[in-house]
């Protein structure tokens, strides 16, 4: 069944809320999932996996004081990466903005790296202080091969990968090492690569326009899991709530 992007966003948001994601991250995770799905990129399986895979989702979205500080390395093992992705991008932007130079972050144990794209595009498209942030998100896994997610100032996205890594990139759960750079202008890292371009911004824009005009078809498996989670935000009805909760006093059919 075709769904509107608004439906996707609403179900994902309520699912994240129902699963216990922190307020605000639930909306960002939902926006991210809808952004990816609109571009025919995998989203729902990773999100549903994170929302159901942690006994304490709130804890899986939080870092201990002192676990990062000024350091440039984060351990993401045990973290709900689809949900916390915006926080990683925010940290990069905050450091770049405050130090007025490119910021770097190395993270291990990253899953579902595509979820870094929507918040990066958000910052690149909007940019604080009119700097126009750009991102180079280099990913490696156990195979020794790399993939790169590039977001240029203005928000254009390019995904570079070899055939050996593209499948893993599009799967949830792979253990990635992230070498991220955020800069206010295009850096050398953005242009120096011999990886083939798998997906370019023009194609993503065309897919997004099509999804907007025609809707999207979510995979029924994760969609059903997300719907079940979304139902957790609802309060069971009682006779009292039926009569009083919405103020159904007096005749409502005259």
């Amino acid at each position: 069944m075709k769904r509107s992007l608004n439906e996707v966003e609403r179900i994902c948001r309520k699912a994240a809320e129902g699963a216990g994601a922190p307020a605000g991250l639930d909306t960002d995770a939902a926006d991210g999932a809808a952004w990816l799905l609109a571009r025919d990129l995998p989203a729902l399986n990773g999100l549903a996996g994170d929302l159901t895979g942690f006994p304490d989702l709130a804890a899986a979205c939080r870092f201990a004081r002192g676990s990062f500080g000024g350091a440039e390395e984060l351990d993401l093992n045990g973290k709900a990466c689809t949900v916390i992705a915006p926080m990683l991008v925010d940290l990069l932007v905050a450091r770049a903005a405050r130090n007025a130079e490119p910021s770097r972050l190395r993270a291990t144990g990253l899953s579902s790296p595509l979820f870094l794209l929507p918040p990066a595009v958000g910052h690149a498209a909007q940019g604080h202080n009119d700097r126009g942030w750009s991102f180079n998100l280099s990913l490696s896994n156990g195979t020794g091969e790399r993939s790169i997610l590039r977001v240029a100032a203005g928000g254009e996205v390019e995904i570079l990968a070899t055939g050996g890594t593209i499948a893993a990139l599009f799967e949830a759960g792979t253990d990635w090492v992230l070498e991220a750079v955020c800069a206010s202008l295009e850096t050398d890292e953005l242009s120096r690569t011999d990886l083939p371009s798998i997906v370019d911004g023009e194609r993503l824009d065309a897919l997004a326009m099509r999804s907007l005009a025609e809707g999207v078809s979510p995979d029924p498996g994760p969609w059903g899991r997300l719907q079940a989670l979304a139902a957790k935000v609802l309060v069971p009805a009682t006779e009292q709530s039926h009569l009083m909760g919405a103020g159904a006093l007096g005749s409502d059919s005259e």
Partner: protein
């Protein structure tokens, strides 16, 4: 607050009423429709662009059950209202969202639907939330007949006479919509897609256009049933009766979260309204024809308020006082204070006067009336009510900056003692019963742990408390803070947004004992252009839309604006 020139597009800064004055529930609950309300601007657009309505299909049986299609041609293309009219037993008729059947259901479709489309819509639209539509549909709606009026009007027309104006005005409509959905719900076209299609480009424009065409359908429907019942005697509705029949609506608690969850959009609405007010107040003088138009409208407003019928004790008392105040005001402006409007800064002086002496109802109605003669001055603001704000977090902001922003924009919340039970008396929630938004009493009802994020005042105060403990370095970035305290992300974004959207926040505690959701509903409905608010409790209200508006066939540039504050009966109380 003095608005920045850039933020309102003014050539010179205007003095706007401050958010602390405007964004209070009691005042918002006294708003009236204005020239830039969405129904008003829509009808101006329809007339200016000469939209054309065609009844493309009208397959209804003698009882009025069946399918109708209305095609509308615009310069940018065409769309169609598909209407399904079905039999509904009285025990199934309820205005609440938990209903499962309705007298009529509707879809506004992009383009003209073919037979396959009609069949697909017939299988889904009557089910409303339980069905599913496609991105080719822009709006989904349903309506119930007014038990008080629909059958009576049919009887009258079938027997060859017109229903009395008293009867019509007492109710105001033949059908009430009970939901009008857009923006991607149940598979509908996403708002961005709707806007990209070029037919509609303002907030709720597609939804309110749907209601306008539904009104045409209800008028055609009663005439059709009457003619089928007594072909030899039936008459059509007289033009003055057609105009007096608007469309009703029942609105509940869902509108309250909408205002809370869309602060940037609400800011745009409020800013446009306050800018319109400020432009009129800034006028150094009022030309005689403007003064005359205002006084004529003021006199009309007295009769309009007289026809505003409600059984709600609170609103009835307010309406009665408003009538008295309007009578007193016009007596002064045409008598002892006749020079007020002919002197310098007339509208500012008039506002000062009603602020000093009058109720909030009078103050806000006076402001609405002041705008009426000045279309050339304010109508452009209707194009500035969409929301370009993305609300993205500024992660580099310092915690000191964040704390200062709370103190600057949420000072009204910091003095509330949230340890007092009355400060958190209510909780807002979504019921498992069709996700109906509801309000519960925290101490007496289950479900508070699932409350929706309406407690902005409480959360702002709690975040401020946390930032005041000294546990965090003031120079630390918001990004670093949120890695450890992610539960505040929602509130941090809101605080940052509030700095750019000062009219975006209702400056009252929506959890407090004494909070009246009806005030929030009225505010939003006034922006739609609704009139004759008829609260049925403090949690839901009936309203009338498009009453007095010209029908599609007679709408033109000359009459597109003259229908505000309509009056239909002679002076004197309505007959009981």
């Amino acid at each position: 607050m003095t608005a920045a020139t850039a933020s309102t597009g003014e050539d010179a800064p205007l003095e706007l009423r401050p958010p602390d004055t405007v964004m209070r529930l009691a005042r918002m609950g006294s708003f009236h429709q204005t020239r830039i309300s969405f129904m008003r601007s829509l009808l101006r657009r329809i007339a200016a662009e000469n939209w054309r309505l065609t009844r493309a299909r009208f397959d209804l049986d003698g009882d009025g059950y069946g399918t109708a299609v209305y095609r509308v041609d615009l310069p940018a293309g065409c769309c169609s209202l598909v209407a399904f009219s079905d039999e509904l037993s009285p025990d199934e008729r309820t205005d609440r969202v938990i209903a499962e059947k309705w007298d009529a259901t509707f879809a506004l479709v992009d383009g003209e639907p073919g037979d396959e489309d009609i069949a697909r819509l017939r299988a889904n639209v009557p089910k409303q939330e339980a069905g599913h539509v496609s991105a080719h549909e822009l709006v989904l709606s349903r309506a119930n007949k007014s038990v008080r009026l629909f059958g009576h009007v049919v009887d009258c027309l079938a027997n060859g006479w017109q229903p009395s104006m008293d009867d019509i005005v007492r109710v105001g409509y033949l059908m009430r919509t009970t939901a009008v959905y857009g923006n991607g719900k149940f598979g509908l076209s996403d708002l961005e897609n709707t806007f990209a299609g070029g037919l509609f480009n303002r907030p709720f424009e597609a939804e309110l256009f749907t209601v306008y065409v539904i009104r045409e359908f209800t008028l055609d429907l009663v005439e059709h049933i009457a003619a089928a019942r007594k072909p030899d005697r039936a008459v059509r509705l007289a033009p003055d009766r057609r105009r007096a029949l608007g469309i009703g609506n029942s609105t509940g608690l869902g509108m309250a979260p909408f205002l809370t969850f869309h602060p940037a959009l609400i800011h745009r609405w409020m800013l446009a309204r306050e800018t319109a007010i400020a432009r009129v107040l800034a006028l150094a003088e009022a030309a005689p024809e403007k003064r005359g138009a205002f006084l004529a409208l003021l006199a009309r407003a007295i009769d309009h308020v007289r026809e505003w019928s409600t059984q709600d004790a609170r609103q009835a008392a307010r309406t009665a006082r408003l009538q008295d105040e309007l009578r007193g005001l016009i007596a002064e402006l045409t008598g002892g204070s006749a020079d007020l409007l002919s002197g310098a800064s007339p509208w500012r002086r008039l506002l000062d006067k009603v602020e000093a002496e009058g109720s909030l109802e009078l103050q806000e109605l006076t402001l609405s009336l002041m705008m009426e003669p000045y279309g050339e001055l304010v109508d452009d603001l209707a194009d500035q009510m969409t929301d370009p704000e993305q609300g993205r977090l500024d992660p580099a902001m310092s915690l000191a900056g964040l704390k200062a922003a709370i103190e600057r924009n949420y000072g009204w919340a910091l003095d509330i003692d949230f340890n007092a039970p009355e400060a958190q008396h209510f909780f807002w929630y979504r019921s498992a019963e069709k996700e109906e938004p509801r309000l519960g009493e925290r101490s007496a009802e289950p479900g508070a742990e699932l409350e929706t994020r309406i407690g902005v005042a409480r959360d702002a105060a709690a975040l401020h408390d946390l930032l005041s403990t000294g546990a965090w370095e003031p120079d630390e970035s918001v990004a670093a803070f949120l890695l450890c305290e992610p539960q505040w992300r929602h509130m941090v974004k809101r605080v940052q947004l509030a700095g750019r959207t000062p009219y975006g926040e209702i400056r009252d505690n929506l959890l407090a004992d004494g909070c009246l959701p009806i005030d929030i509903l009225r505010c939003k409905l006034s922006f739609f252009g609704a009139i004759k608010f008829d609260p049925k409790s403090d949690r839901w209200t009936r309203i009338t839309m498009y009453q007095g508006a010209p029908g599609f066939a007679e709408l033109d540039r000359e009459n597109a604006d003259g229908w505000a504050f309509p009056v239909f009966t002679e002076a004197g109380d309505l007959h009981p």
